[in-house]
């Protein structure tokens, strides 16, 4: 069991650790470049390459997307209630409660815990959370809904091309599978290294508040995920992936958006760093629960 948990967590710790060590050793790191590469190339390719290998059916993939959309609504509702009660500004903290690290942390966790099938389910939740973050999340930060940006998200194009093959039941030609497979291999390690870089670089504020919100994100998320898994009768990889993705820390993207719309970015950075650090402690327990 311990070896199983280590096999899932070690890649995340080591990759994020490399990112942190990179910054601490004073080496140059170009986050903009790494983000462009993983966002524009790596992620669309990993989506295409994973899903066209057909480890889950289109129905199961869509079902997971709907379930995770419901879960996200649950996170946002719980977050809104607690933030209101605590007298904290929703425009600063609510998106972080709804949109968590389903990409750089959730994808490798699901892959190593449940194999390619787990990765396919995790991609389903990641698509929802990425689209949600750029529409609803950005809408909350900016104060007005922003649907237009959906079409600027390369994930959409990766997904659309994938759906053409999934729905028509055709296998992509080998050259396309090979190309997307190697380019997709860039996404996860690059995202994890950038996560480490962000952890080492972010200037945080409001530790106590950040800790409270981190517990809410991870604990509240887990509770909602568990409830939905029970109601939907999920089992196996689908259940495991939903639980893990629901209990992820606050996504780094929230910090970038908070900075852009000037919503106390250093406080949001605090929730990112503290929840990520907390998740390093909760991950082994979470995996023990999910794999056991």
């Amino acid at each position: 069991m311990l070896a199983d948990i280590a096999a899932v967590i070690a890649p995340i710790f080591v990759c994020a650790g490399i990112g942190m060590a990179w910054i601490w050793s004073g080496k140059a790191f170009n986050t903009e470049m790494v983000t462009e590469i993983s966002f524009n190339l790596g992620i669309p390719c990993i989506i295409f390459s994973t899903l066209t290998r057909l480890t889950v059916s289109t129905e199961a993939f869509a079902e997971m997307a709907v379930i995770y959309a419901i879960a996200t609504l649950g996170f946002l509702t719980l977050g809104a209630i607690v933030l209101k009660l605590a007298g904290l500004p929703l425009t600063t903290f609510l998106p972080g409660q709804g949109f968590c690290n389903n990409g750089n942390m959730g994808l490798p966790l699901s892959l190593f815990a449940f194999g390619e099938q787990g990765l396919a389910y995790a991609i389903s939740t990641f698509v929802i959370s990425s689209i949600g973050s750029f529409t609803v999340g950005m809408g909350i930060y900016s104060g007005r809904p922003s649907w237009g940006l959906v079409w600027r998200n390369p994930i959409i194009y990766g997904l659309l091309l994938t759906l053409v093959f999934m729905l028509s039941g055709t296998k992509p030609p080998q050259w396309l599978s090979n190309t997307t497979q190697i380019l997709g291999g860039v996404a996860i390690p690059m995202m994890l290294i950038s996560l480490g870089v962000a952890m080492a670089r972010l200037k945080i504020a409001g530790f106590g508040r950040a800790l409270f919100l981190s517990v809410l994100r991870i604990g509240g998320g887990f509770a909602i995920g568990l409830a939905i898994a029970e109601i939907a009768g999920l089992h196996g990889a689908a259940r495991g992936v939903l639980l893990m993705q629901s209990a992820m820390p606050v996504a780094v993207n929230n910090y970038l958006l908070a900075q852009r719309f000037n919503r106390n970015p250093s406080e949001v950075a605090g929730t990112v760093v503290v929840s990520t650090a907390l998740s390093f402690a909760t991950l082994p327990l979470l995996l023990y629960f999910v794999l056991g």
Partner: protein, 296 residues
């Protein structure tokens, strides 16, 4: 038709990734070659070596056989290259490293992976590791007149070579957490190297087209001939034979250009050799693959 599909599956990923690198430069998107090179060489390459040898079970005998074939190829490149340069009255220190050490990493590894699967990648890595060691020792000795031991000691891939050899010889069962971690990080090597290749091809300034063309073509022709000869001489078959021929026939390595720049050894002409031999190999690679894989 099926053969064409097979060949496409091998060469297209290489072309597309290089093209992305070119396009990335054209679009002026951020690209920091130093950071990518540093990530690939200090983190990615050692991980790829360890991950591949953890997944692919290859015998010590197969490893030794390929290492011997690789050494013979590099020795033959050195002798033939030196003779031709002498005959043409060209400075050996300027051109020999570029003729000796082909692009076995960014181009050779993906070609062998897609043509022959993971066992092919493992064998291709053996050839590549010899080249990396050779570049820092023999290559540096020729270009600079001294061996850069300090560079060798600072190259993590060198340590990974020893770990990999130990893993093969002692038949180590690698723990899953190491396999997962190194596989994840090693996965960045091939695509990032290819994109960086495209990016650097665009940035190269070259001179002396005539001489660069002749030497670039010499690299490719000599590569095929030596690879074929060594494989036949040692009686290699299957994946080992294909890897030796393919790796030997790779174009002039971009690292040769960086080397030439570092030691002031006519970098513009070496850049011309890199560009011309890479462009020509894009045309000859499908043919070579066809002959190696399909025509006995």
């Amino acid at each position: 038709m099926e053969v064409i599909g097979d060949l496409m599956a091998v060469v297209t990923p290489v072309f597309i990734c290089v093209a992305i690198g070119l396009l990335w430069g054209k679009l002026n998107k951020p690209f920091d070659t130093d950071i990518i090179t540093s990530l690939v060489y200090t983190v990615g390459a050692p991980c790829l070596i360890i991950a591949t040898f953890a997944k692919v079970k290859i015998s010590s005998a197969a490893l030794a056989e390929l290492a011997l074939a690789g050494l013979l190829c590099y020795a033959a490149f050195a002798v033939i290259g030196a003779l031709v340069l002498k005959a043409a009255r060209l400075e050996i220190a300027d051109y020999l490293p570029s003729l000796m050490f082909p692009l076995t990493g960014s181009m050779g590894l993906p070609v062998c992976l897609f043509a022959l699967g993971e066992p092919g990648l493992a064998l291709a890595l053996v050839y590549f590791m010899l080249g990396t060691l050779g570049t820092f020792t023999v290559g540096a000795a020729i270009a600079a007149g001294r061996v850069s031991l300090k560079e060798i000691a600072r190259t993590p891939a060198v340590y990974a070579v020893f770990v990999a050899v130990y893993m093969v010889v002692a038949e180590v069962q690698t723990p899953q957490w190491i396999v997962n971690t190194t596989a994840l990080l090693g996965g960045t090597v091939i695509p990032m190297q290819l994109i960086a290749l495209g990016r650097s091809l665009m940035a190269l300034r070259f001179a002396g087209v005539g001489r660069s063309t002749a030497l670039g073509l010499l690299r490719l022709a000599m590569g095929v001939a030596v690879g074929w000869g060594v494989a036949a001489g040692l009686g290699l078959t299957g994946a080992a034979r294909a890897v030796v021929i393919l790796q030997s026939a790779m174009p002039v390595a971009v690292s040769s250009y960086l080397f030439a720049q570092l030691y002031g050894r006519k970098p513009e002409e070496v850049a011309g050799m890199v560009l011309i031999s890479t462009a020509v190999s894009f045309l000859t690679l499908p043919l070579l693959l066809y002959f190696v894989l399909h025509a006995g």
